[in-house]
């Protein structure tokens, strides 16, 4: 859980919330991603910092009313792995 992550350059994406989903247009690839919660929240709390999954979970628990922080860290880790695959987040 000590692996650091950071978002790819935020000016390289356009986020656009639509009802229950959020669209993310990635300028470098021209690909439109459609993501659900908690991905937009993860990207928001990460800002441009380098963070571990636990750090992200901690920031989420401050910003949002979350019940079990252990589960949150696991969920964040899984989402970060997916975002790395998409190129929206990178390992530091």
């Amino acid at each position: 859980m000590s692996q650091l992550y950071r978002t790819a350059a935020l000016d390289g994406i356009i986020q656009y919330p639509l009802d229950s989903m959020t669209l993310i247009f990635q300028k470098s690839s021209g690909v439109t991603h459609m993501v659900a919660d908690p991905v937009p929240a993860i990207l928001e709390v990460m800002a441009e910092d380098s963070l571990t999954a636990s750090d992200v979970a901690q920031r989420l628990s401050v910003s949002y009313d979350l019940e079990d922080s252990t589960d949150v860290a696991d969920i964040v880790l899984a989402r970060l792995a997916e975002l790395c695959t998409l190129g929206l987040v990178e390992q530091v």
Binding site: L18, D19, S20, L23, G30, T32, M34
Partner: protein
């Protein structure tokens, strides 16, 4: 190489040069597009080429191969009796693959009071027939194939090509339109029977007039009449599938489509007859602010 015959056509903002080994499809096009503005300078955005699949197929069981600036490697040739369809398909193909000035939505559109109703859906949903029907009842026909969305202004541009009727829709429109509005009946095409109709005069005269998109419908023919709400995410995904150049336009396409989905009320509409559809559309239209 045999000399090709030529015809220039202007439809909405797009200009086509149709080049053909045979004079026949050009004569048919010239008759059906006779009210459209004539080319002044022989400039064209796209060239469509109608040529024999093999040199001897110009005369022996003549078959028309569609090509042009943009073409599909696996497009099946059509018999000469369907060369008008080949020309129309060729023009569609150029727009679908090559047009970049607008976001293309595979949708029919009609206009009233400066506002546009767009209808999109799979083949057989009735979008083409509904646009033809409404254009005989007080709406201005803007197109039955592509709605052109201006990414800068958000306005819909007209692309009023011939209206392509298929199978049962042919008889339905023959019941209300004079024979002079119809092109030749083509039977046994890859899409069944096809007959084109010439759009109403005002559709051609006002084809440079844009309209603000006011309502988007996903019609579905053959089900009990009902209107259903649709989530914006679903609408967005379905419109990316209905656009032939969303990916090619990149960020411009993304911004245009998100703005459209956010601003335009959308419904799924099931119906079993033109009268039912007209009632549902009138009720929705009257509720628009």
């Amino acid at each position: 190489m045999a000399r090709l015959h030529h015809l220039y056509l202007t439809v909405g903002p797009a200009r086509f040069r149709v080049a053909s080994t045979w004079q026949r499809p050009l004569d048919q096009l010239a008759a059906l597009y006779s009210d459209y503005p004539a080319s002044q300078d022989d400039y064209a955005d796209f060239t469509v080429r109608l040529e024999p699949e093999k040199p001897w197929r110009r005369y022996i069981r003549p078959s028309v191969h569609i090509s042009g600036d943009y073409w599909l490697p696996d497009a099946a040739p059509l018999p000469l009796s369907q060369s008008l369809l080949a020309a129309e398909m060729g023009m569609n193909l150029q727009m679908a693959l090559g047009w970049r000035r607008h976001l293309l939505l595979h949708a029919s559109s009609v206009e009233k009071d400066g506002k546009a109703l767009l209808m999109t859906g799979l083949s057989g949903s009735g979008k083409s027939t509904l646009s033809a029907m409404l254009s005989e009842k007080g709406w201005r026909f803007m197109g039955d194939e592509f709605a052109l969305l201006n990414p800068d202004t958000g306005m819909v541009h007209s692309f009023p090509r011939l209206i392509s009727l298929k199978n049962e829709a042919i008889a339905a429109m023959q019941a209300i339109l004079p024979e002079s509005r119809f092109g030749p009946l083509m039977t046994g095409t890859p899409k069944g029977d096809i007959r084109h109709i010439i759009p109403p005069t005002d559709a051609v005269q006002k084809m440079a007039d844009t309209a603000k998109p006011a309502l988007l419908l996903f019609p579905r023919f053959g089900y009990d009449p009902i209107l259903r709400d649709m989530g914006k995410s679903e609408v967005f995904v379905r419109l990316t599938q209905a656009s032939t150049n969303y990916v090619a336009l990149g960020e411009t396409g993304f911004r245009a489509l998100t703005k459209f989905v956010d601003a335009v009320p959308t419904k799924a509409m099931d119906y079993q007859s033109g009268e039912q559809a007209e009632e549902l559309i009138d009720s929705l239209w009257s509720q628009l602010s």
